[in-house]
Amino acid sequence: MSSIARAIGRTLFVTAMIWGMGTSAWPHHAAAPVFDLNTEKTVTGVVKQVDWTNPHIWVWVDVQNASGPVETWGFEGMSPNFLARRGWTRTSLLPGMRITVTFRPLRDGKAGGMFITGKLDDGKVLTSAS
């Protein structure tokens, strides 16, 4: 936790907010039925594609599995509308960037989740939600 806090402290893009866990005001869909909001995981890979789209951005990351094949993970972030007002641009994340994504996993166990933060090689941390 403290390493995450330190990383956040270094960044340009952090929006320092204390966020509760309420989901009732989520504008588009309830997060809790889909994502495990009580679990936080990380995965490292290379950005394959960024969908800078409504109602959510999607960040697709190629992850090299220990067993061999590359698996593409999908992460749902907030909307471009929300993020553009809080420091992100559509080129904040680009294909080819190495990224460590902290996320709340999909409840069905598939390769994806809710994007919380993405740490880039240069130390920048992009925050979407907590």
């Binding site: 309420g22 504008p27 869909h29 309830a30 509308n81 939600a129």
Partner: protein, 255 residues
Amino acid sequence: MKHATHIVLLVVTAVTISVAAQDWTSKPPTAADWAAVGKLPDLTGVWESPTVGRGGRGPAAAPPPVPQLTPAYAAKKRDLDARNPDDTEAANCLPTGMPAIMGHPYPYEFLLTPGKVTIVTEAYQQVRHIYTDGRPLPADPDPTFNGSSIGRWEGDTLVVETIGFSPLTTIVRNTPHSDKMRVVERFRLTAPDTMSVETTVIDAEALTTPWTTTRTLARHREWTIREYICEENNRNFLDAQGKAGVKLTLPAKKE
């Protein structure tokens, strides 16, 4: 003679129908009308809730009062709760309608023009049309998501009255309204860039007492309203069984 009476009746009927369909004809605004807009409390600009404008994860405010339901509507809510859907149709991009439209964690732009206040709602790209030109509420409006609204100024407060809501909208989740629902909103500046929005839902069939909540909006002069096409890349869904999910298939990127 009988024939002539029929013609008169037909003409009278046609005129009555055309008046009912038009209800009200706007007058062209004069320079004085525009000048009068400049003397109104300045509600213009882009506003967002400082508490919910955090992607739905804002610091929790005091829990709002819960609507008090009549026995018949309490039973309806129990039935809907028992079905226990994971989510609402908003997951499939259906807008929430009134009154929930005013609780989004997305901004609203208020526009004041002669005889009208327009609220541009970024989420789901919606518009509320509030007529302040003295017209009455329509007698029998078609039910719509945002209803039919008129407004008037009481001192510094814009008082908006809305009726005629689609049965697809709810008072709150799993809580239907009757066709008698009326919503009264009071918009008032409490500081230069702070607006209080008091919302009262009145529905004698569904509620034992009017249900009032108050929201605060903060003005962002540096913001503009952005496009929000929910269908652009909606990977969330709620299926017919009430199960929510996410479509994870990655199609080839469209160039």
